[in-house]
Structure formats: structure tokens, C-alpha cells
Subunit: 244 residues, 6 copies
């Protein structure tokens, strides 16, 4: 019952953050969870959507998408099909909600930050990589605004990180790769703050329904995994940016 890459059941894949991967974006990071690679770009603009103008509050939103050949076989582009699929919609909403959980809109002032998470290569856990990398890009964009005197305070009230957990061959495992994800009986995504509280918990029985005890094990694994990711985010943000 060893894992495809020989990891322990509670081990993350190698995680890498390359900050400043883009020259133009106010914050950007290429985040890698093993072979999963997501380019997160945070765009800050000094304005808010029409429905929020005059409120003194900022806005944060996210969009998730996958390149056509991120996966084993090519998928048609949603732009060519003329419509966003249900999965894309769902993940964009999850990433947006998760990142908004770190933000104090009053301190942000009437600024908007859009975080684009584009999956360049997919090997499981793309949405959790998007949240985890998205936070780093968001922090850099907020820093960019701060340095230019555009903020009313510190809008970052906490950090967020996310990881997938699942039951594979009856065993709870952390950070599933695609091969494990396809075989999982239960699949769960856990989004935690840096303080270890939950922002989002989404568990789905793909095969057999799962018991309360199994749910407990998965939450334990996910919480610990998010704590590891939080440390890696902090280390990445403490280092100098590659560029920008």
C-alpha cells in the first residue's frame, strides 16, 4: 500500500513557490505541488465594482482555469466552447471565498485585487495549489499597494492554505496526486487559516459513504497539512522576490 511516489501517508509532495514569475502583475507566483503547476497572478486596481463604490470597502475575487493540455489528454478550451464549465465555476468560487477570508475590506480601501489561477500542468490538487499559491500572490499585491501608500491599514488579517486529503485503499492520505485522486473512495479539500481554523471543508464520497470517524482522520491530516503549507508560505514570503 505504498504511494505512487513513495511518500508517507501524511507527507506533502515537494512544494515550491517562485514569486515574481511575471513581470507585469502586482503579485505573482508559480506554485508547484509535485508536478501540479499553477500560475497565480494578482492584479491590483484602484477601483471597486460598481455595486461597491462609495462604500469605502475593497474587493477580492479569483478566477481559476486550466490550459487545454495541462492534463493527460487535451481538453477543449472553454473560450472556444463559449461557456465556462461547472467545475471551473465551482473552483473559481471556492478560491475566491477562501482568499476573501484573509482580507479586511476596510483596511484594503476601495481597491480591487483579482487573483488569476491558471493551471499550466495538472497532477491532482490543482484547486488547493491555487488557494495556497493565490495567498502568496495576494500578499505580494497587498505589499505593492502598501508601498505606494494606497492602503488604509493592514488588510491581511490571517493567511490561508489548502490541501486535499482522501481515503485511498481504505487509508487516509494527504495531498493526493492524480492517480490517487482517481482511485479515492472519499475526497476532501480543507482550507485553513494560519491559526489552524477552518475556512472551508468540502468532503465527497466518490464511492462508499464515509463515517464520522473517517471524517475525523481526514480533518486531522488536512489540518496538519495546512500547517505545513503555512510554514512554507511564510518562508517564501520572507525571502526576496525573484523579480518585480
Amino acid at each position: 500500500m505504498t504511494r505512487p511516489d513513495g511518500r508517507a501517508a501524511d507527507a506533502l509532495r515537494p512544494v515550491r513557490f517562485t514569486r515574481g514569475w511575471l513581470d507585469h502583475a502586482e503579485g505573482s507566483v508559480l506554485v508547484e505541488f509535485g508536478r501540479t503547476r499553477v500560475l497565480c497572478a494578482a492584479s491590483a486596481t484602484e477601483d471597486v465594482p460598481r455595486w461597491r463604490r462609495g462604500s469605502g470597502l475593497g474587493w477580492v475575487t479569483a478566477e481559476y482555469s486550466m490550459l487545454p493540455r495541462a492534463t493527460n489528454t487535451r481538453n477543449d478550451r472553454e473560450s472556444v466552447k463559449g461557456r465556462i464549465g461547472g467545475r471551473t465555476h465551482e473552483i473559481s468560487r471556492l478560491v475566491g471565498r477562501s482568499l476573501r477570508a484573509c482580507v479586511d475590506y476596510k483596511a484594503l480601501g476601495e481597491n480591487t485585487i483579482v487573483i488569476d489561477c491558471d493551471v499550466l500542468q495538472a497532477d491532482g490538487g490543482t484547486r488547493t495549489a491555487a488557494v495556497t499559491g493565490g495567498y502568496v500572490a495576494l500578499a505580494d499585491a497587498i505589499d505593492w499597494l502598501r508601498k505606494r501608500g494606497k492602503l488604509k491599514g493592514n488588510p491581511l488579517v490571517t493567511s490561508v492554505a489548502a490541501v486535499s486529503v482522501g481515503i485511498v485503499s481504505g487509508e487516509p492520505r494527504l495531498d493526493l496526486c492524480y492517480e490517487e485522486d482517481s482511485a479515492a473512495e472519499t475526497d476532501m479539500n480543507v482550507v485553513c487559516t494560519g491559526a489552524g481554523d477552518f475556512v472551508e471543508v468540502q468532503g465527497t464520497a466518490e464511492g462508499e459513504p464515509f463515517s464520522r470517524a473517517m471524517l475525523g482522520s481526514l480533518l486531522d491530516l488536512g489540518t496538519a497539512g495546512c500547517a505545513d503549507l503555512t510554514r512554507l508560505q511564510q518562508a517564501a514570503l520572507a525571502a526576496d522576490r525573484a523579480s518585480g
Copy 2:
């Protein structure tokens, strides 16, 4: 800290199932959770999608939608806008996944059942009413197929029910109405089988992140609520249908 309608924190709203509400559908039910009313119609056809033909397996899927004036103020139709919104996509997928958890595709044979869940009036908990009523419509459609000798066995391996739980003014509450839902700090949807196992757990911090202890209380409430709904489903299915 009483609830808008005076219920106990762990009490469901009045739940009503009107089976056979439609004359044409193979299974149909008007399900009411208080003022929330969802019309669930199950359409059975002796065929499967192209990608499944020849497999000997059946297929179950669901579509969720809301009438424009189900809510307090009118919403534009998605058909007029020319695209399905993210929320609709997300809920349709949740309802489909939840209902598929009851089904043995081999026993269903190459038949397809589509469950349409149309919200006629919304007062919170529309997706959980859709799952809970959808199960009753599904059971009736399966019975319809069984009576016509179209099945290879009993495709219903369990039942499913769903309920919302949330933290309002710091208190965990069951089956939130719209007013509570809007004010909730944390909002969770729990989908359980008749045996009390989890099919889906989706919890979101709308305001403050939530602790593991609070998550535990919500799961307790949700599990008990689903057990109540399971009994109500059984009672409804044991009675004679209104029509059809």
C-alpha cells in the same frame, strides 16, 4: 436568541412531500421545507448517454434551477442571460453527486434518470430540499421502471437526505431559513445516507473561521437532522401517491 419562527435550534421546519404532483413524470414530488418549495421531477428513459452505451450500466443526473420570482426580488432568467451561473452549476453538481450515491448502476441497467429540481419559492435550504425531495422522486421513478420490468435488480442501495446547519449569533442551528442563512457566520450542508454515513459535507466560513469543536457541533446537528428527514422520506414513500 430565539429563531425567527420560534423553532428550537435543533428542529427542522415543517417538511412536506407531495408525491405525484406532476401527471407526466415517472416520479415527482413537491417538497416543502417551511416556505421553501422545490418541484422535483424524475424522468426515466431507456437509454444512456453515448459514452456509456454498451456498458450495461445506468446513469443518474440532476439539474437545479430557480424560477425568477422564487426570491424576494426578481432575478433575471439564466436562459435569457444565455448562460448558467456559477451557483446553479455548483448546486446541480452537488444534487447529482448526492443522488448518485444511492444508486447501483448495474442493477439500474442501461436506463437514465434525470432529476429536475426547480425552486418555485426560496426561503433558504433550497439545495438540501432538492436533494431530499430528489431522492423521493428518484425512488418513485425507479419503482416505475421496476413495475415495467426494466430493471436488473434493485438499484437503490440506500437513501439520501440533506440539511443545512449553521452558526448564527454564535449558536449552531439546524435547517436555516433565508433570514438566518444571510446572518450565519458559518454555513454547512450535510448529505447523509439513511444509515447515517456522510455522502457530502460542505462547510464555509462566511465571517469568522470556525474551530474543530464548532465543526463537531454542526456535524452532530446535521446528522440528527438527516436522520429525521430520512424518517419523513420513508413515511412519504410508504403512503399512496397522490396521483400517477
Copy 3:
């Protein structure tokens, strides 16, 4: 040559109006013409479309749609297909034109009323039921505006009702059910005011072209049917609402 339900050629099906079927809408009615059931919801807002602002005139419009399993076999949703079909467009326009015929825009003032007519179950005559029920919902929404002092006068200059007539097996018949409608050689929809004048007349030869004499018989039947419906509308509006 008896009709499927034994009615006389000039008899309506049982007609029922359930006012206040919805809790949120300013006017609502579930209208039934036999097994045809249409939910009509009138939404009143204190504004008009941009092109009408500052004119002192109100606006009334309607949208018609059918639930996917309103019919014998399931139809794909127009929201999923991403476009409104020709039939839906055509009927929405007919219902809107017909209801606008009752309204004095000056007396309505700069208020808009949208009447949504959603067919929950279809058994022929859905567009005529939509017009006939739509008028009742419109009247209730206007009453709602009147009670809140939003009107400049009485915007209802007349009432409207609609009915289908057709030639089946050579015989002119009133208020066709689906089975008759499918077999009709000629199909006509007649929309009349309460005073018995015509708002709209639409006759189509499905098979053989029809003579001027046959057209006369159909108009006689339709005019009488609308007069019956007008009396039923008045009785429904005279009674207390079920709710709201």
C-alpha cells in the same frame, strides 16, 4: 366525435385560479386549465427601463417559459442550451402584448411590472392560460402598488383573457387539450378584452387552409370562451387572496 374528456365542443376545461400562491411576489396566481398549470408571478418595481426614464410612463412586460418536465417527455432547458428558442420568444411576446393592452401607462407612473409565466405542467393552451392567469397576477400587483400609494390613477383600463380554439375532425372546438391540439387542422388563439373586443387573433392552418366561414365559427367560439374566462377572473379577484 366526442372529446377526450367528454366535454361539449364549446365548453372550457375546469379552470382554477389560486391567488397568492407565492409569498414574495407582488401578485401571483397558479392558474389551471384542466391539467395545464401555469405559475404567474407579477413583480412590481418602482423604476422603468432606461429608455423610458423621465417619461412619466410605466412599463409592463412578460416572460414565458416551460419547466423541462412539464411535457410528456423531457425537454432540455433553454438555460443549458444557452439560448431561448423561437417558440418561447414568440409566446413571451404574445403574453406581453396582450397584458399591455389592459394598461394605462400614465396612470401606472414610472413603475415596471414583469409577469413571469412558468408552465409547471403542459396539456395544451399554455399560452392562453398564461395570458388569462397573467392578468390576475397583474391586477394583484397593481392593487399592491395602489395600497402603497405608488399610482397616479387606475392603470387597469380593461381586463384580458385568452383561449385556444381549433378545428378537430372538421369540428370547431373550444380550449383544446394537448391531444386535440396535436390533431387539429386549424389552431387559433383568441385574446379578448372584458368588453369582448379583440386584442389579438392568431390562426394557423396546420393541415388544410381554412375558409372565411370556418374562421367565423372559430371567432364565435373564442369570443364566448373569453367571456366565460372573464367572469371566472372577476370571481377570483373578488374573493380574498389565499395569502400575501
Copy 4:
């Protein structure tokens, strides 16, 4: 109370058919009702839509559209807007139904004829010009099929022509131009066969509802106008084609 162009109330505008206006189409005509100009192109193909294959029956359908600058002020293209409007849908359906009324599908055999009616310039009555010209293009396309031995018999069981009538300043008038159409209290389109029977009658009160007597006058005018158009169609079809 004279008409803008001085015509008698029961007179058509100058009507002109230029057959063979296109080099490629199996049948084509540029039809003019005064300043209204519609290019009708009939495309014949030796196949039928999938749902009709193997039936031995043919199919006839029509599409109506308007160039952006056919009208006084420019309208956005429906291709650019990404959707067909309600008016276009409605007229396409009317033209198709009207032309199908002339056709014996058995005699046509498994051939399809599509009639495209593109309004190059609009001055009222574009849909009636489309039906009237569409018939001529259809007849030419059927002749094209006949000459190539593709038919099983004579598919043209009758001819069709259409004209608008309306009440302007209280007076019934034939074949309204745009200026009259905009001012009409009642607007009616009448489609008749060459034998003088009705294929379609569509009357709408734009302002005041109309009485049975007024409806009678309009039908008289429309029937006579269609008879005139029938004679003009016959004359055009008796002449040699300009080309093709």
C-alpha cells in the same frame, strides 16, 4: 386622410419580382413592395434533416433576417449580439409555416428546400414580402429539382401570398408602409392560398382593441390583396427568368 403615397385604401404598392437575381441559388427573387426589398434565395439539397431520413418525405424551412442598415437607423447585427431576437424568430417561423402550406412532402421526396429571406431595405410589410417572394423562389427551386428528375410528383399543391392590412386613422388600409404601420391602431397579416383560403391570420391591436366588424373589413381587404398578389406571382413565374 390620404395615404403618404396617395394610394387608394385598397391598393397595393408597386410590386416587382426580379427572378434569378442570384447566380448560385436554385431559386431566387428580389421582391419589392414599394421601397421594401427582400432577397429570397431558395437552396435545394438532396437530403433531409436527420429526424426525417427514411420517411420518404421532404422538408421546407425558412430563415428571415434584416441587414443592419435596412432601416432608418442602424440596428446591431444578431450575429454580433450572439443571439437571434424574438422578432426574427417569430417571422422566420411564420414564413416557414406559410411556405410549407403549399407543399406536398411526398411528392417532394427526400429533398430539403431552405428559403432565406434577407431584408435589404425595410419600409413596412417585410414579412409579407418575404412570404410572397419566398413562394416564387420556392417554385423556381422546385422547377430546378423537377428538371433534374429529383421529384416524385408535383410538390406544389397551391400557391401562397401574404399582405398586411391595418386600421390607420380609423380607416382599414391595405399593404401598409412603415409610416402607416407605426401609426396603425390595429395591424394584421393575412396569408392566403391561391384559392383564397387562409393559411395564417395574425391580428394585433396596437392601440384600441378592435371589434368583430372591423376584423371583417380587414379580412376583406387582405383577401383581395392576396388575390392581387397571386396574379402578380403567376405573371412573374410565367415570364422567362432573368438568369440561372
Copy 5:
């Protein structure tokens, strides 16, 4: 190696401009290059797009489209497909860019001219006919604005004309018809000003790549063809308009 219509390799097809073909448009021309017929309508409005307001500058844009039966076999309408195809997009952009090359936006003032180029019949060279005819319609619309005192100066700094050239059976030829275009090894469109300079050069190897020498021959042919077309435009504009 004679051409299908016996022309010399450097000869244009018969070119005809019918100005004022439409009654409503501020400028209009039916342009014919042999059997290719394009209706060009220029619509002038005293306003500019939102992004240009207050700049004192005007705007010119173009839209190209083809009627479904302009070609040998019928093409589906882009309005029905719900999207503009790549070819249509590309040609609309080319026509717009080419016509903008003649215009001084300051002299035009805050007026917009939209040139609609609708191909009524296609026999090769539709985009070059659109540019060439579009210029004539543009000139007439500018004249219309000038006569009404809406201009700040003369916005027409030059004229533009366009022609196709190509290599067929190894021979450079001017103004290809469809039959030649389909067989061409290389296809080039040349857009020149009245002074003989280039506005746009687009050459594509359909089969074998082409040498610098061959490119030179094609440019020679194209430049001479544009000079011929410029003379024909001038003659057409010097004559009285047919109408308007």
C-alpha cells in the same frame, strides 16, 4: 493558360459602383467585381463610442458579413450559430483598418461612421470589393455630414482601394475569381491609397512557399490594379448619385 473568363493576367473584372442603392443610409453603394456583389452601407451618427467621448475625435469602423446563399452551397448563418466565425472577424478587422487609413479623426469631429459590407453574391475577392466599395460609401457619408455642417474640416486625407492577386498555374494574376482563388498557390490582398502607397499587404502561401521575386511580381500587379480601381472610384464619385 487562359483565365476562366478570358481576361488578361493583369486585367480587372468588370467593376461597377451603384451609389445610393439604399434610401435610408447616409452613404451606400452596391459594388460589383464581376459576379461578386457587395452592398456597402455607411451609417453616420453624431456620437462616438464611450471610450472616445470628449476627445474631439471621430471613429470609423466596419462589419463584413455574407448572406447564407451568397456562395455555391448554402452556409449556416452566424446569427443562428450564435457566434461570429474567425474568417468574418478577420475580414471585418481588415476592412475597418483599411478605411480608417483615409480618415483624419480631428476633422471628422465626434461623429461615428459604421460601414456595413454585406456580400450578396460571392465569386472571389469579396474582401477587396468590400474595401473598395466601402470607400465610396464612406465618401458619400462624409459628404452627407459636410452638407449638414457637422464636420470640422475635410476628414478624407486620401482614398483606398483593394484588390486580390495570386499565383495560378505559376502565373501571377490580378483580381482572382472564385475558381482561380481555389486553385491559387499563393493568394495576396493589397490595399493601396490613391497615391499608390501601401495600407495593407497580406500574402499567404496556400501551397508552395513563394520567393522574393514572385512577391515582387504580385506587388507590381496589385499596385497597378489598385491604381485602376482608384480611377473607377473617382469616376463613380464624380457622377450624380442614383438616389438619396
Copy 6:
């Protein structure tokens, strides 16, 4: 009149090909022209589009797209807007045509190769980088097919490379960056084979029209630039792949 990065007028920016940038694609390369970065992924499948089946011929096509934050300010996604813009359409078609110029379909057999060119960062010349990198990805995908014995011969009859040239401040320059591109009076894209012949030439006057002499200078620059790129492609393909 020095260039923003100090290059000579006839010098390329630093060009880099990182082959095997993706693990799943049959061929992939991250191509960089200075700060412009395009990810080219070639997907090979053993099938052809329906219209080509049974012909024994293969098919090659391309899709170009830009990530929302590839540019200085964020652009909305075309998938969210629900339609592909004209610029994207035009470039996808150019890339596809250019790459098809290298391919012998008979030798390719009934295999399809789709080349996705996604711009991760844009600084001018994205379409020429897409063609140049797309060729390398195509060559790797063909090698992949060859190694698996799927080919009937060598489908690569030549190589293609592309570069932009333009007139900036009156001076012809090679390989414009965004700053130069925005300021260019004339902008031209040149696509050449490895043998130095032209596959595509597209020149546009953004400001003043350009003379035949200036066109000659631009073609000289572009031809030389393509020759340089051809050498760099050969060197990249001669080296071992980074991965895959």
C-alpha cells in the same frame, strides 16, 4: 534613436526554447523572445476530424490564447465573456496556416496534431513567438509519433519561423518589443521556411502608408531574422530534451 534595450536595429531579442516544459504533451516548449513567453503544447492523437476520415491524410491545427495577466493591465477572459475575440481568432488562424506549411499530410497519415500556444507573458511579438515555438513543439510531437511507428513517412517537409518587423521613428527594426510595437508606423509579420521562402507576409500601416522601398527594407530584415531563428530552432532540436 537607440532601442529600449539597446539592441541593434537588426538584432533579435534573446531567444530561448525550453523543450519538454510539460510532462503530458507529446511535444512542448516554453519559448521566450525577451520578456515574451509562450507555452506551446503539441497534442498528437491517432484520428482526424470527421470530414477527413478515410482520406489517408492527417491534420494540423493551432489555437492561440493569452492569459488575462500576460499584459500590463488585466484583460477579461474570453471564456468568461463567452466568445473568442477577433484578434485571437485571427492569430490562431495565422499560426495554424503557418505550421501547416511544413507538413506533408500523406506522410503524417490519419493523425491530428493540435498546437496550443498560450501566452504567459506578453511583450510584443507573441504571434511570431507562437509560430516559432509552435514549430519546435510540432517537431517533437512528430518525433513522438515516429518513435511509436505511427507515421507513413517524414511529414516535416521544411521548418517555419516567424518574426515581426516594423518602422519606428522612420527606422526599420527587427523583433519589436511592446513599447516599439505601440509606437510603430508600420508593423509587419514575416513567416519564412527554413529555405528562406515566404509562407506569410502581413504588413499594416498603423499611421502613414508605406512605400514600396520601405516594404523592401522590412522584408530584408524579416528574412534575415527568420534565418537566425531557424538556426536557433535547429540548435534547440539538436539538444536533448529537458524532460519527457
